[in-house]
Symmetry: D3
Subunit: 320 residues, 6 copies
């Protein structure tokens, strides 16, 4: 039977299908009765879901997040559709095609990954090349790298987003490195390829996008540096150790690529290469963020709504 | 007679030649006697100069800055060479080849300017093209544009520096614009060409580099916007007015290209094009600043000294 | 037929009258149906308005903001009155008396303008006087100057507010200038008269108060400096040019009158006159803001609610 | 015998006169020998003084600061005059006319104090009037109030400076209060009169200007509030208690008159009166600071040197 | 008759009992009708209360906050219980056991106070001891000190909270002072005992927790310093004056114990003792805040919700 | 022959002994001649050293820092002793007793280390205990841990300083953990023991104190986390893996122990244990810093000089 998409549900319908359940919370009414609030999602949107007369046991069974078969009835409440849920039964995520439930890059993942391999393959420094090959040859990791979002919400927040962001940063670097001949191109390319690799462990993206516990405690920057050293240890074990200076210079790019302490970088850029990776990262992220905000705005106003992270509205009337 | 370069003066020599005089200050000793302190410069360096037993009248005659024939004697004082000046006679700046006294870009100015004309010439929007042509056709302004430094000290602080910075920004933009097809290329190219044009009025660079009174009171950002409107008024007078939207969008790029209020931008970027010009400006400035700081450091230490504006030392040992 | 004021509409009434429509937004329900939310206003207050079963075409026709004949029915929803709109037909703003729809200064506009002319008329510096006369003689601009609000929401946010603020600043300056004889009175008076003149272009206030596109892209500070130079160009064309120093010193007052970079001033005060204008502006704005917040608070509490821009509650119990 | 002024001492002279000694420091050379560095001052300027071959005992005897009879010889060292001191004998400060040694307001102290009494005397609120009279009637305190500087260095840093600042603030308030009829004039006048009264305890100014220990530990803001409550306690003891609300509202003005937490105000303005006192204080301080910096600059440059607290140079060329 | 607890009220019940009324606000509907919104509380929770068809007179009679006999009917509105009130009659707070209505420390107040007396009793410095005894012997004040909350919401926000916080800080100090022998233990112990004593006047806690007018205008830091000086004046009156240095050093600890200007300290720590009190205060407050946030989180998530004042979520899964 | 200590060298002496050479810099006079400036140190102090007529080759041979036999002559220059060096010959650091040249903790290193072993030995959690034992059993690392300074200059900047700081933090934790029973003591103790372990790699301290290249690029926080994971990998290799949660929670304490992003922490505290380690670290560092600044001040002033990192002078007159 075909999936009933969120966008197709009309008020007053009986609902019985599999949806993605996000952020269930157990709350009590002022009377002390328990109920559960959650979001019911697929790739066409999300609705509020409510289980009245809930219990702690019911709450504990719910995926946080994950898939569930939802039985209930839709209604309009305060101008918004919601589903009053009678039964929510957990469904094994393995039986689900995640692409039906999560946003996905509109670029060709295979093509982008091939481009990345080619651009990173152009690194001439032998040790950096060995280290990068150790990453490229780690199939499990590369599998995650191809799917991982670039972030939770700000930019490239879709399946394949991390790859798309890394791919485009590599393209920018390849285009401008000839204009800055003093900058060590190998370090820039390796630094870009690796810079957010720790996000594959910081984020969970097999069902909904969320932070892992480990990701929240440690962060993707530190995770990336740990990955670099683990790969280097393995190479040393095989008799091809990486010089400390190479590891330190590359790790420095990762540790400083947010540019300022207040953005969570424990170091600030101290090499030309670290500055370049920081600027390309910021440029590509903002271009993605700004163009999406402009495209996603409904209506025909010349301005988007107020964008808090950018501290401005965006003007979108073109002169072309 | 050949010019005696600053770097060639030995202690105890009689000095009699033309030099650039900078920042003369009239001071009084604790006894109340007046003396004048100044810098005596040419392109090989600078020395302290002192006129003992000075008077207000002598001080007033001195150029601030400018050229003077300096007669005196060199001596070593506190480990530094200085010149005790007997007579300082003002010399007409027109008789001087400024290139002998001020640092100069090591790129070919004619070639860069040709490149700029070609890249700006690629603008397709008719009105933007007309406006840019009005700038490119203003010979007096373009003369200044080819000589003006990019700044007083941070980056591109040499004759031709503004042109070099603008030229390289245009090259970066040309290289990456194809990667961001939603961004209006014409606005980015015009915005880059024009973004610091007001520096030709903010700075004086015919003798030494300094701020003009007008430059300090108004600033190059506002001066650039005034220039745009003056050119547009002239075009309107000729029957080819520029749409307000074009002027506003271009002016917005200029007004926001420092990126944040605290860096003197009265507006922050609100268009994709303004963001792109801001990032390319910052990237090119930092690359110039960082690579020069690394190259200019004496000795063989792996690190430069502390760089206050960057809040770090710079690491300069290469892995290549 | 007499206008049915917003404050007079009871629940369940049939509504059919002209109102000011503000901030219409096209939204979709979670089901995908479109509806339009907006505010329906006159000078007695505002209500939510809703058009269910809306279309993009209907949304595009609505003024943003502007006047419309609203046909519908009032209802109470979530403790608030709202109007469910059946038909909204655009009405020509020219047929409307704007005073019936927008807040207005409680001072006498003609009297204030006369006072302003007299105080500015006291300027003795010939060039400043010519420049100010060029503004005072620009009837179209002075018409706007008499109506323009002083701002969108913080202080003097009413028709005639800019005039009232300018008038009171001139009165403060006239009262205290004799106490600071070193300060150049002419520059202070001219600076105050002109300081926010660009708001007449930054804001739209013929229907509701809003920012113009040009105002948001450029800002009133830059607009004011452009106005000064346009007037000076015209005077120069008539053979009475204004010295660059006069233009720069006056423009500097405008460019620095927010006092700090973070408040959007591209320059910070560098003359005694610029400091004085900045302080008088801030004082008069805060006095207006604070006394209105105290007066507008309902109930008899000794304290107003929390005032976010002031980071405090206000104490309003008097000792008198 | 006439005093030999600092400005009259020539190099190589034998010196034997009374001077103000400031900031003596006991230092050791890298060899371990002790010497004492200090400033030797009178109202015409200051010189470095050095006691070579010093001892802890000699250091302990020196006033910190205070008057001493200095015997030694002047010399020029590194372009500056200094005095090599053989003997420094403490002199009783009571035998000295302090006016010969410290800068003094150029206004008439008696006339200013009379004006202050008259303006404060205009307070109509009975309790505020009683409280102010308790201050005005405290002869010892008023003696200090007439002499105390307005600060250590920023503005009004001269004998009589606190009075001059208070007097001028009261004149500004008297001039503009009629323009803000909602503001309680009595509170503003009392608040201004009292606002920095604690400086009479925070600063020592009988010899040189310095902070008292108590002043540094507690600060003039808290000291002023303690004074207010001490006067109120005394009045209560005499059967004329002051209402808590009057004390709190007045104390609030004192506690918030620096305007922001970061400037040491433990409260920020929460009444119209507190805002007005804050603005008048800041305005009068800045006008004094700016006009003095402009006047004190030597030479004929259009700009003063960089003013760190103002984050700018000051432009001082007049258009008049 | 037994009190009907908030948590026991079911929808649709007739309500007639005494409750704590908080934050009544007089509002008008868009139609201009007045109504009153308020909170109805006891120690089991709170509900919204509404009086429709209200008048200014009814509003004025309501306690703000205080106890009232509430007659009305409960209903569910927007998923929340609320009470539609017919009559609200003020009840004398003296007839109420406040413990039934406000949260209370779970520690033994008598035992804690005894511990405090013993730890403060260990002070050896005679004058500090006398001063502390003056506080400990002030029965009325100590009564308030035993009940006062430690704050409005951040930490120790319960009856007895100030005592619990002070008691625990004294215990921490007693434990670590032996490890820092250079630190003057007497000053630290006295400073901790007294540091927030002014909260007994800043806060009202006989009914609900709220700020007093005086507390908001003056703040607990200044109030504490005033208390210290009042006690010292009284001791001086009895012939046992306290040295100014002792008062200043102790007051400095109070004035600087928030550690930074931006947190409302008019002084920052300048003694080892002031630093220690500041750190112990911050440590104990954060430990209380963090452990309560972790304990109070409903559900079994490893993380609490976002904690704005801490700028993070809290991880609460234990490894034990 | 006995070492000639720096403090014993008189002006005009012939010098020929081994000293620690720090921060040699190659400079050119304004004439273009090269000279070398450096510091000549032992534990009694330091002097300037100068090699006139230097060459790049001489500069390259000098240790940076390290030991050299210095032949030259002492002289007084600008009130300071300096040594004009004729010959500087590098000396093998292994032949030097470092204790003669660097400041050393005044506590008993063996006793402190024993205490640390005992306190860390009290950890009950099996996995944390295994991990800590892996550190304690690493003799080479523990050797460095016993010598490493706690920092370059702020606090505990002496041989053994890191151990002293860690030891005292463990003592503070042991004293106060019983007062906070909800806090997991094992994590706090392990977190403290490990928190700055990476400083053993960040700093070089075999000759003078300096940052290593790797330390400056990576920082001690990241180095510590890498160490933890290396030890855990080794344990996993031996069949006793550490749970990811234990590693993450411990690493989180390390990553957040500077408390705020701006102090270089890539994470901010999100557990009670992380908060406690952060506060104890800050408290112990400040107590060490403040008490040393107070003790090290020469003379008998009640105040130290201005302490820039603390933004205050320190008051050091005791009431005891």
């Amino acid at each position: 039977m075909a999936h009933k998409f969120i966008s197709e549900i009309a008020p007053g319908e009986v609902v019985d299908d599999i949806y993605l359940v996000k952020e269930p919370i157990l709350r009590s009414t002022s009377r002390g009765d328990l109920y559960i609030a959650m979001f019911i999602c697929d790739k066409t949107g999300q609705m509020n879901g409510r289980v009245w007369q809930a219990s702690e046991a019911m709450y504990k069974e719910l995926p946080k997040p994950g898939y569930a078969r939802i039985k209930g009835r839709s209604e309009v409440y305060q101008n918004q559709m919601q589903i009053v849920i009678n039964i929510a039964t957990v469904v094994d995520a393995k039986k689900i095609k995640v692409e039906d439930f999560l946003a996905h890059t509109d670029k060709d993942v295979d093509k982008m990954f091939e481009d990345v391999m080619q651009m990173v393959g152009g690194i001439k420094n032998k040790q950096l090349r060995q280290l990068m090959d150790a990453f490229l040859g780690d199939e499990k990791l590369m599998g995650k790298f191809r799917s991982c979002p670039g972030g939770m919400s700000m930019h490239h927040d879709c399946i394949g987003g991390l790859l798309e962001h890394t791919w485009n940063m590599l393209r920018v670097a390849s285009a401008i490195l000839p204009l800055y001949p003093q900058v060590q191109a190998d370090l820039v390319l390796a630094g870009i390829f690796i810079h957010d690799m720790g996000k594959t462990e910081e984020l969970a993206f097999d069902t909904a996008f969320s932070y892992t516990d480990s990701g929240q405690l440690i962060g993707h920057i530190t995770k990336t540096v740990l990955m670099i050293h683990k790969k280097a240890d393995a190479l040393a074990g095989k008799g091809t150790p990486i010089d400390a200076q190479v590891l330190d210079t590359l790790s420095h790019i990762v540790l400083s690529h947010h540019g300022e302490y207040e953005f969570g970088s424990p170091k600030i850029p101290a090499t030309a290469e670290a500055f370049m990776v920081y600027y390309i990262d910021d440029l590509d992220a903002k271009m993605n963020q700004v163009t999406h905000l402009i495209e996603d705005e409904r209506g025909d106003s010349n301005w988007t709504g107020w964008q808090k992270p950018l501290e401005t509205k965006l003007y979108r009337k073109r002169i072309e």
